[in-house]
């Protein structure tokens, strides 16, 4: 007897892994996913902290853009979370595959266009959407005629559309200050070192363009969000807050770099050019355990070093204050009491640390062959 061959029907619904590379999002090991989340949180913290001391309204950018862009009103409460979300969503967009990425792109363009055009353009269907022969009313000869009136565009609420365009423009302007979290989020999740470096570079540039109370010199109090000139903070206040921002940047750099590093380590454990699925369960568990052990030890190292860094930085920065206020000839030095004095004494301190390092640090001599 002949057996009928069994027909295997393939499902028309594509598998999820054909649509989106979700493995890239979750990472191959839970620890890597966890590192990315911790890095993201540190990024949001650092940038929020940074903008507390660098009010975007006092930026040179706001001075010029505020006049040319209607509705330009950058607020860290808005652009930090939304900038991060935009960077993250952009990463999600990049992990879609082939035509699905294109379809998503079309969908986004279509949705935005519809959102803008919806109030203005209203469509009215005609009486007869399909051409039909109808009797002519009041006709004595029972004459007929073809009638067809498909769709009519009615320009309804054009002003509302303009409002939405303006609103979108204002939202888009947030990307000027929001590019820092945007690039940071994209860099962490897509494992792009250049994006992380660019976000830090932007922070430096934005910090450079900041001048306290610049807004009040150019705009009304209502626009600036504060009515009177803020009391200038003492330089010691700035210095101590700078320490936290500096530590925040170190945390952000280290954790985002760790996300990339551990992903690379996981790659190393795979057979060359092949998939993780070729590893046995025991091997996978072993790799996961190794990565976890390493990351925990890394976090402990980081915490200890950050604590020591904090203490040393406090000493380094405050040693100048002590020297410039202590009795003796040194307090007569005007240079020592300003920012130059801080940098000068700090450099001397580092020089001393360098000398100590020569004697107590690790020293590996190359063995002579």
């Amino acid at each position: 007897m002949e057996e009928n061959p069994v027909e295997i029907k393939t499902s028309r619904i594509p598998k999820i892994d054909k649509i989106i590379n979700y493995k890239d999002f979750f990472g191959e090991y839970p620890i890597i996913f966890a590192i990315k989340i911790i890095s993201s949180l540190s990024l949001i913290y650092v940038i929020s902290e940074f903008y507390i001391y660098h009010n975007p309204m006092d930026s040179l950018l706001t001075k010029y853009l505020g006049k040319s862009l209607k509705g330009f009103n950058p607020s860290p409460d808005v652009f930090v979370p939304w900038g991060f979300a935009a960077g993250f969503l952009f990463y999600i967009f990049t992990i879609f595959k082939g035509r699905y990425k294109f379809l998503l792109f079309i969908l986004i363009i279509g949705s935005v266009s519809h959102y803008i055009a919806d109030p203005a353009i209203d469509m009215q269907g005609g009486e007869y959407t399909i051409p039909t022969k109808v009797d002519i009313e009041n006709s004595e000869t029972n004459a007929t005629e073809w009638k067809w009136k498909p769709v009519k565009l009615v320009y309804d609420d054009v002003d509302k559309t303009y409002e939405r365009i303006d609103d979108l423009k204002v939202r888009m302007t947030n990307i000027i200050f929001g590019s820092m979290p945007f690039l940071g989020a994209y860099g962490i999740w897509k494992r792009k070192g250049w994006a992380i470096a660019a976000s830090i570079g932007l922070a430096i540039i934005i910090g450079f363009l900041y001048t306290p109370n610049l807004c009040l010199e150019n705009y009304e109090e209502s626009y600036c969000g504060y009515d009177t000139k803020q009391e200038d903070r003492t330089w010691s206040e700035y210095l101590s807050s700078g320490i936290f921002i500096g530590l925040g940047f170190v945390i952000y750099i280290e954790l985002s770099y760790a996300a990339i590093k551990y992903e690379n380590y996981a790659e190393q454990f795979k057979p060359a050019g092949l998939d993780i699925s070729l590893l046995t369960n025991a091997q996978r568990k072993s790799v996961s355990r190794t990565l976890s052990t390493l990351f925990v030890s890394y976090l402990i190292n980081l915490a200890v070093i950050l604590f020591v860094t904090f203490i040393i930085a406090e000493i380094v920065i405050n040693i100048n204050n002590y020297l410039s206020t202590s009795d003796g000839q040194i307090q007569d030095s005007i240079e020592l009491q300003g920012p130059y004095g801080i940098v000068f004494t700090s450099l001397i301190f580092f020089l001393l640390l360098g000398i100590i390092r020569m004697f107590i640090g690790p020293d590996h001599k190359m063995e002579e062959s």
Partner: protein
């Protein structure tokens, strides 16, 4: 040593501090100083450097050209250190990795033994070594790293490729006493038919040709060619001029392959073989036989380097007094840049030696490399053909070995 990351963080920190001075921004100054402190403090962290024992297991001690060698690299952490180590096993520049990798990143625990494997192929004969091993470890933040070179060397040789010869290589009129496998063109005990003659008393009945008896009506016996061992001298031209071309396509490389092939064939047939390599001086592997001797010859061939410009006549003058009289000499030479060839051959023949030449054409390599214009190349080819014809007219056997042909093809020309 500083990593790129450390340089970037320290550079950024210094920039922030200086920018803070320019803008009188205390925030920048303190943030920059914090980052600088972080780098300085991290430099105090001891970068673990493992104490290791390295060994390699290979599929063979020596390989032939284009042969594959599998290497198992085994490293044992003999200390209490723990962490990631990057390991790079240095390979000869000519080596091609066929499988696996000579680089790996390992997470090493105390007293742990880890191994990885790779296969490599070497297209050119010579003496090579695996190693030294470069190791690199980094601190927890990848700011500083240390490198160490472990002088773990594994030496091996790549012998010239050996082909299988399709026919008897050469004949000699100077048999030795021991029985061997070479036809000597002399009537005697052997297996190869030579002629028929009439039966004389004392002839063995086993040698009677019964078919001939039936045809002629009288007893006829088969005569065979006498086979015996002989002394064969392989003479390899390793002068500087033999390096024309590139890679495997040089007269020297082809000559080495041919010499290895002939040596293998002759030694398999239990002959005594000697190898003389001349270039700057004359390197000798004296007459001997057996597998161990083949190893010596192959090793000597692997060591042959193109250098010097000794003329053949001088070489012959030096060698001939020490060679067993009448021994066949096989010369592997492109016959380039040597005006003494005719005289050398004449004096060799006149002293009773037979000389066979296998000559790879260097002009083919020049043509391939397109270094010589067409017209001069044509003239050079004609000159070479004339020289070979002249040598053949002396009764010498000269094989003109063209580029791309195998040894057997060159042999057929003789």
């Amino acid at each position: 040593m500083w990593s790129k990351k450390a340089a970037a963080v320290a550079g950024g920190a210094i920039f922030l501090t200086l920018a803070g001075l320019i803008r009188l921004n205390y925030l920048f100054i303190s943030a920059g100083l914090v980052m600088l402190t972080f780098v300085v403090i991290s430099s105090f962290l001891d970068v673990w450097m493992p104490n290791v024992k390295i060994r390699r297991e290979t599929t063979s001690d020596n390989i032939f050209e284009d042969g594959t060698m599998s290497v198992k690299f085994i490293i044992k952490n003999t200390g209490l250190g723990i962490g990631f180590v990057e390991i790079y096993d240095s390979l000869p520049p000519q080596a091609r990795i066929m499988k696996g990798s000579n680089y790996t990143l390992l997470y090493m625990k105390p007293w742990q033994e880890v191994s990885f494997e790779y296969s490599l192929k070497l297209p050119l004969r010579g003496h090579y070594h695996l190693g030294p091993v470069k190791m690199r470890v980094k601190d927890a933040f990848d700011l500083f790293y240390n490198e160490r070179i472990e002088e773990s060397i594994h030496s091996f040789s790549v012998f010239p490729q050996v082909e299988v010869l399709e026919e008897q290589v050469i004949t000699s009129r100077a048999p030795k006493l021991l029985s061997g496998a070479m036809p000597l063109n002399v009537i005697g005990t052997g297996t190869e038919f030579y002629s028929l003659r009439e039966f004389v008393p004392g002839d063995s009945l086993r040698s009677v040709n019964w078919k001939a008896l039936a045809k002629k009506g009288k007893m006829m016996v088969n005569e065979t060619v006498r086979e015996d061992v002989m002394d064969v001298i392989l003479l390899l031209d390793a002068r500087e001029v033999s390096a024309v071309g590139g890679g495997r396509d040089t007269p020297l490389e082809m000559s080495c392959r041919a010499a290895a092939t002939y040596a293998k064939q002759l030694l398999d047939e239990r002959n005594n073989v000697a190898l003389m390599v001349y270039g700057e001086s004359i390197e000798r592997v004296d007459l001997d036989r057996g597998e161990h001797h083949l190893f010596k010859i192959l090793t000597a061939l692997s060591s042959a380097k193109p250098q010097g410009n000794l003329k053949l006549q001088i070489v012959m003058k030096d060698l001939l007094p020490h060679l067993p009289s009448g021994s066949p000499i096989i010369l592997f030479s492109s016959l380039d840049d040597d005006h003494t060839i005719s005289e050398a051959f004449t004096s060799t023949i006149s002293r009773g030696f037979t000389i066979t030449t296998i000559s790879p054409s260097s002009l083919d390599f020049e043509e391939k490399m397109k270094r010589i214009p067409i017209e001069p190349l044509l003239i050079a080819k004609i000159e070479r053909d004339n020289m070979i014809s002249e040598l053949r007219s002396f009764g010498l056997q000269v094989g003109d070995w063209k580029y791309g042909d195998n040894v057997n093809t060159a042999l057929q020309e003789i």
